[in-house]
Each structure stands twice: as structure tokens, then as C-alpha cells.
């Protein structure tokens, strides 16, 4: 049963006031709803060096009501594997192990450990919060940064390559559950994490997490930016259950009614795209259209 009202969400807040995340943080809102979908006391989170480390606060105080085990940047998939094995070996059952890493820790430095864990079928959820760059260290380029974005390591020319297709890489591991999400669509995100919780094996959820300081938009526009990403087709909301691809939430509605927004509508409110060339914009639109059309085709093939 899909969540349709805020009244259906658990009232328990796993994140208390006093986090160290920035105002308007996409990760913060993502984490809040993901944790609502998980069991209090029975959730162990593996976290690499990232914005998430900052969110979790500075020793000896933490505002988050979970067991969080921090690990080195490259090690998230391996640390989660160790937690799962250790819990099993010591007879601690009923825990959900959730790795929570950014795009740098997933697409780049963490991809080896992640691939290893997924190939072994480790029983855990891996959530990638994709803010499209090394935001914790100050907006450097990652392989998740989009074409045409200025980052602090592409300061003049902007990024010259498209974003890596991480979902295709993850899908090559044949997982029972893969999904995308957005903090701008919290019910959809909540439902997906809740569903993933009860699936056995490796589960992967990728959340597009807008970042006000990194992308250059006002803090108040977090949800707006998340929605524009979905509505322009930059980020598509879907889930893949045992190989069956289904669009969800706003993306599903768009599939039925037609897409309204263009990439230019999405990027105009972000200073990181202020220098984008006409050619890059056209390429980004073409790239986005191609992905969107592939999603549509796949959705209607799997859901005739």
C-alpha cells in the first residue's frame, strides 16, 4: 500500500535537533525518511567519510538514534559485509544493515568494495545519496557530476563528461531490488526503503540529493530543485524488483501524461550551470531524453 499522506509516516524521529548538516541539505531529508522506514534499535548504519559523517555530529554527541559504524572512504561495502557477518556469527538477528554513502564513496573510491559486496550477495541495503560531487570537501568533480557543471576541480571548462550510469553497473550484479528516490518525493522514498528492508540479499537505492552550497541554489529551494530534477527527467524515479522495471511516483505520472519540463528549466536555478555552453546544454538534453525514453520503453515493456 503506497504512502499517500504524511499522517501515514511513523511519528518517530530518528534524527533529533542538532545535526551538523547544512541548511536545506538533501541528504538530511533523505536520511530522515529512510530511517522512518527502518526499525528503531534494529538498524546499523555503515558510513564512510562524507557529509554523513558531518551530519552525525562531533564526538561525544550524536543526534541520530541508530548504531552508526564509521569506516574509511573506500571501505563501505566491505565494512557492511563485516557487520553482516559479525552479527550472524555472534547470533544477533533481526538487524537491518544499511550502508549510506555519497556519490564519491559509491561511484568512485567505494566502487570496488561495493561491487564485491553486491557480487557476494551480502544481505544489506546500500543507499547512495548522490549530490553529484565531493560536496563535503567543497564541491570537487566526481564521476556523478553532470556535464556542464562547474566544480572546484573543473572551475573554468566545467565538467566535460556525462554522469556515470551507476544503476547499469549495479544492475549488472543481478540484485533482487534496485530503486531510485528523491527527498522531494518522501512518500515514494519511504515506501522504497520500507520495501527494501524485507527483501533478502543486496539491495541498492540511489537518491538524488540536491545540495544548496554545492549546486548554488537557495536553501529554501531544496524540494523545488528535487522536483525539477524529476520533472525534467534528469533523475527518474523507478524501482527494479527482480529485474522488473517500474516507474514510480511523479515519473510514473509523467509517463502517463507526458513530460513537461526541459533540462534548461532545471539548471537555470543553479549557479553551477551558469557557464554552460549551448552545445553542452543540447548534449545534456539529448542525454536526458535518451535515458528517459529508455525508462519509458522499459516500463511499458515490463508493465504492459
Amino acid at each position: 500500500m503506497a504512502t499517500t499522506s504524511v499522517k501515514q509516516l511513523p511519528k518517530t524521529e530518528m534524527i533529533l535537533p542538532g545535526t551538523r548538516s547544512c541548511a536545506g541539505c538533501g541528504l538530511m531529508l533523505t536520511y530522515r525518511h529512510a530511517l522512518k522506514a527502518l526499525d528503531e534499535g534494529k538498524t546499523i548504519v555503515a558510513v564512510p567519510a562524507s557529509c554523513m559523517t558531518v551530519l552525525h555530529g562531533v564526538y561525544p554527541i550524536t543526534p541520530v538514534k541508530v548504531v552508526c559504524i564509521n569506516n574509511p572512504f573506500a571501505a563501505t561495502g566491505a565494512a557492511a559485509s563485516g557487520i553482516v557477518a559479525g552479527l550472524k556469527a555472534t547470533g544477533k538477528s533481526d538487524y537491518t544493515v544499511v550502508a549510506f554513502a555519497g556519490d564519491g564513496g559509491t561511484y568512485d573510491i567505494g566502487i570496488q568494495a561495493l561491487s564485491g559486496a553486491l557480487e557476494r550477495g551480502v544481505n544489506f541495503i546500500y543507499i547512495c545519496y548522490d549530490n553529484e560531487g565531493y560536496m563535503n570537501t567543497g564541491t570537487q568533480r566526481s564521476s556523478a557530476s553532470p556535464l556542464g557543471a562547474v566544480t572546484s576541480t573543473t572551475p573554468i571548462l566545467s565538467k566535460l563528461q556525462h554522469k556515470k550510469d551507476m544503476i547499469r553497473i549495479v544492475e549488472a550484479h543481478d540484485l533482487p531490488y534496485i530503486a531510485t528516490g528523491s527527498p522531494a518525493f518522501p512518500f515514494d522514498l519511504f515506501d522504497k526503503v520500507k520495501y527494501a528492508k524485507d527483501v533478502l540479499g543486496s539491495r541498492y537505492i540511489e537518491v538524488h540529493a540536491p545540495c544548496p552550497p554545492g549546486w548554488g541554489f537557495p536553501n529554501k529551494d531544496l524540494v523545488k530543485m528535487g522536483k525539477l530534477a524529476v520533472e525534467s527527467g534528469i533523475h527518474v524515479l523507478f524501482e527494479i524488483r527482480e529485474g522488473r522495471f517500474s516507474l514510480t511516483s511523479r515519473s510514473l505520472a509523467m509517463a502517463k501524461k507526458g513530460r513537461k519540463m526541459n533540462v534548461s528549466d532545471y539548471i537555470k536555478g543553479q549557479t553551477r550551470f551558469k557557464k554552460i555552453s549551448g552545445a553542452h546544454l543540447a548534449q545534456l538534453q539529448e542525454f536526458t531524453d535518451k535515458k528517459w525514453n529508455e525508462s519509458l520503453e522499459r516500463h511499458f515493456r515490463d508493465n504492459p
Binding site: I69, G82, G116
Partner: protein, 395 residues
């Protein structure tokens, strides 16, 4: 007494892990450690050992996964060599900082480039500043015994331990080993007390960001800063020499074998000339000493079993009475000299009666070094000190 078996040091390490009832094993194959991973995998798959075995995709992940498994309460084991150990370097610091009682078999091998699969001790010596205890073994019997001791020590002081033994020379050489009986090991090494704190209720943030200065918790109690945690690690690793000694004594009471704690001596009671070394090379030095003694030279061996923490007072005590001390080691701190000689010289600075110290780098990348060569090199030092010489190398 246990059962005598003809086994390699790798098999000894694998059997020891089983006898210690490790609960999570995670390892990545690398020569010459490979048989350890294979034999443990077979024990787990056959059901002889009830453990989780994670076939990781790298050494970095091997150590990351056993750190995490240890943090949630499991007794863990891993093994590696050479470049695999170097690949773990980040995780070595992380493991020690996490204060997890990991035991890792380090099968000593030279490091690339260029590639060698043969033995020296550059790999582990290069990890000396990571906060791990390092124990070097002379033979396969010492490997199996040290592994069992290592879990006791590590779990007592919450510091990870490398059990180091020489690749091929020990790892692939079959010798008789007295394999302890399981019930005796169980009495010596009780099951691991779960200190994870995971109880289904209590939130925790393990290894979070920490500031330089102490900071109060939510109740106003001042908690340590980064430097306090580092100071505790240093105090505890220094203090571990005592635990290493007492665990070795207790091991002797149970199994009838002692390995000398942190440092052992061979004919040191009346020695005028000491040879100082580690691992199987130290064992070979005893043969050189026998030769020197037959030639009328009162020589002896100081075997350094524990390199970190550095047993400086024991080494000073053993070397204060001798006229010369000759170091043989299979490592070098590039741009200076052998690490063991450097550390021992620094320790001897405090001593009033210092011997003349000579140092040799030998056996890198498997270069053969024979007892008579060690004896000859020592004899040269008896006549006058030799500063940082490389033995058996053509310039």
C-alpha cells in the same frame, strides 16, 4: 602435549585460527599467504569450523570487513603478505584506532617494484608505526603457539596483532609441529566477551569525527579529544609488553612451551658478542653462534620476538654486558639503515655500557644467506664495527 603433525607454517596458522574458534574470517589471496586462506575456506565449507568466511575482493576490504565484524562482537582473523599488507595500510591505522582485537597472520615477503614473491621483512617493518603489535616467529611451532597467545593478548588490551613469519622459509616448509588439543586451547582462550554494546536499544556513533580538545557529552562529562585517544593507545601498547610476558608464562604452564615473551636469548649468559635478529633469520643465527663457539668465540643470539612495542629495556639488559652486537635484518629504512638496528641503537643510548654495534642488511627478496656467512660477518664485527653493510650483494 598435543598431536605431532608434519605441517607448514601456513597450515599451522590456519589450524591455530580454527583452534581459537574464530567467528569471522575475511581474506584475499596473495603468495605466499594463499594456503592459509584455502585451508580455512575448506574448514568452513566442510563444517569443521563454524565461522563466516568473507571472500573479499581486496586486502583493503579484508581488513575493513574484519574490523567491522570485530566491532559488532566477533572474534576475527585475516592473513596477508607484501603488497597486500601495503594495500591495507589505511585500514591498519583504522584497526588500531578502533581498538579491535584482530589477529592477522603476516607471511613476510619482499615488496614490489620490481616483483618478488620471495621472503624479506620489508612489508611488516614498513607498517611498524600503525599501532599494531608485531610478533616475529622462528618456526612453525612458534607460529601456532603465537597465534593462540596473540588472541589472549589482543583481547586483553584491545590492540590488533600481526603474527609475522617468513614466506616460503617457514610458510611452505613442512616440519613437525605439536598441535595443541582443542580442549586445552579452550581453557587457555575463553570465548570472546561481547563488548560491542549492540543491544537493540542503545544508539552509538562508532569512530565519529572528533575534535582536538576534550569535549563534554550531553551530561556535561568531559570526554577525550583526539590526542587523548592517541595517548591511550600509546600507553596501552607500551604496557602490552607485560601482558605479552605473562601470557607467554601462562602458555608455558598450560602447554609446556615458552617463546621468551618479547625477547629471547641463545647462549647469552656468558656471551661477549651478540647477534641480534628477528624471525627465521634469528633462528639461523643460532647455527652461526654454534659455529663461532666451536671456534672459541663466545657468541650468543638476541632474538627479537616482539618488534612493536619495542622491548628496549630487555634489549638493553641483554646487550649491556657484551663487547659487540651485530645486527642482521631483512629490511631497510631507505636513506638510513636497518630498522631493528636503528631502534636498538636508540635504546642503547641510555645504557652506560654500550657495545660496539654493527649492522647488516641481508636476504632481501629471498637472497640466500647461510649460517657460515653470518658467522663470518659477525667475526668481522668482532674485530671492528661495520656500519650498515649489505651482505652478499654485488655493488
Amino acid at each position: 602435549m598435543g598431536q605431532i603433525e608434519i605441517i607448514t607454517a601456513n597450515t599451522a596458522a590456519a589450524i591455530a585460527a580454527k583452534l581459537c574458534r574464530v567467528q569471522v574470517i575475511s581474506a584475499y589471496p596473495i603468495t605466499p599467504q594463499t594456503p592459509v586462506t584455502e585451508e580455512l575456506a575448506a574448514m568452513v565449507e566442510s563444517g569443521d569450523l563454524k565461522a563466516e568466511y568473507i571472500t573479499v575482493e581486496s586486502e583493503h576490504s579484508a581488513l575493513a570487513s574484519v574490523v567491522a565484524a570485530s566491532q559488532v562482537g566477533a572474534r576475527v582473523f585475516t592473513a596477508t603478505s607484501a603488497n597486500g599488507l601495503l594495500y591495507m595500510h589505511e585500514m591498519l591505522h583504522w584497526a588500531a584506532g578502533s581498538r579491535v582485537p584482530i589477529v592477522m597472520a603476516c607471511v613476510n615477503r619482499g615488496v614490489g617494484a620490481p616483483w618478488t614473491i620471495l621472503n624479506d621483512q620489508q612489508d611488516t617493518i614498513a607498517q611498524r608505526d600503525t599501532g599494531w603489535i608485531q610478533m616475529y616467529c622462528r618456526n612453525s611451532q612458534e607460529v601456532i603457539d603465537t597465534m593462540i597467545q596473540a588472541y589472549r593478548i589482543a583481547e586483553q588490551i584491545q590492540i590488533p596483532i600481526m603474527v609475522c613469519y617468513d614466506g616460503f622459509i617457514l610458510s611452505h616448509a613442512s616440519t613437525p609441529v605439536d598441535v595443541p588439543f582443542q580442549d586445552e586451547v579452550d581453557r587457555f582462550l575463553p570465548s570472546l566477551e561481547d563488548r560491542s554494546g549492540i543491544d537493540g536499544k542503545t544508539p552509538m556513533n562508532v569512530n565519529p569525527l572528533i575534535l582536538s580538545d576534550p569535549r563534554p557529552d550531553a551530561n556535561g562529562v568531559l570526554m577525550p579529544g583526539y590526542m587523548e585517544f592517541r595517548y591511550r593507545l600509546q600507553q596501552d601498547i607500551l604496557g602490552s609488553l607485560e601482558a605479552i610476558q605473562s601470557v607467554d608464562s601462562e602458555f608455558q604452564d598450560t602447554f609446556g612451551r615458552s617463546w621468551g615473551g618479547s625477547v629471547w636469548g641463545y647462549h647469552m649468559d656468558d656471551a661477549e658478542h651478540a647477534i641480534v635478529s628477528m624471525g627465521s633469520l634469528a633462528s639461523e643465527c643460532t647455527v652461526a653462534v654454534d659455529q663461532l663457539r666451536s671456534e672459541g668465540i663466545k657468541a650468543g643470539v638476541v632474538g627479537v620476538r616482539v618488534y612493536r612495542p619495542f622491548p628496549s629495556s630487555q634489549i638493553v639488559e641483554l646487550l649491556s654486558g657484551v663487547r659487540t652486537a651485530t645486527f642482521f635484518e631483512k629490511d631497510v629504512s631507505y636513506g638510513y639503515q636497518g630498522a631493528l638496528a636503528m631502534d636498538a641503537k636508540a635504546a642503547m643510548y641510555e645504557s652506560k655500557s654500550r657495545p660496539e654495534i654493527s649492522s647488516y642488511v641481508v636476504g632481501l627478496g629471498g637472497r640466500d644467506v647461510r649460517p657460515e656467512q653470518l658467522a663470518e660477518a659477525t667475526l668481522k664485527c668482532v674485530k671492528g664495527p661495520v656500519q650498515h653493510c649489505w651482505l652478499n650483494v654485488s655493488g
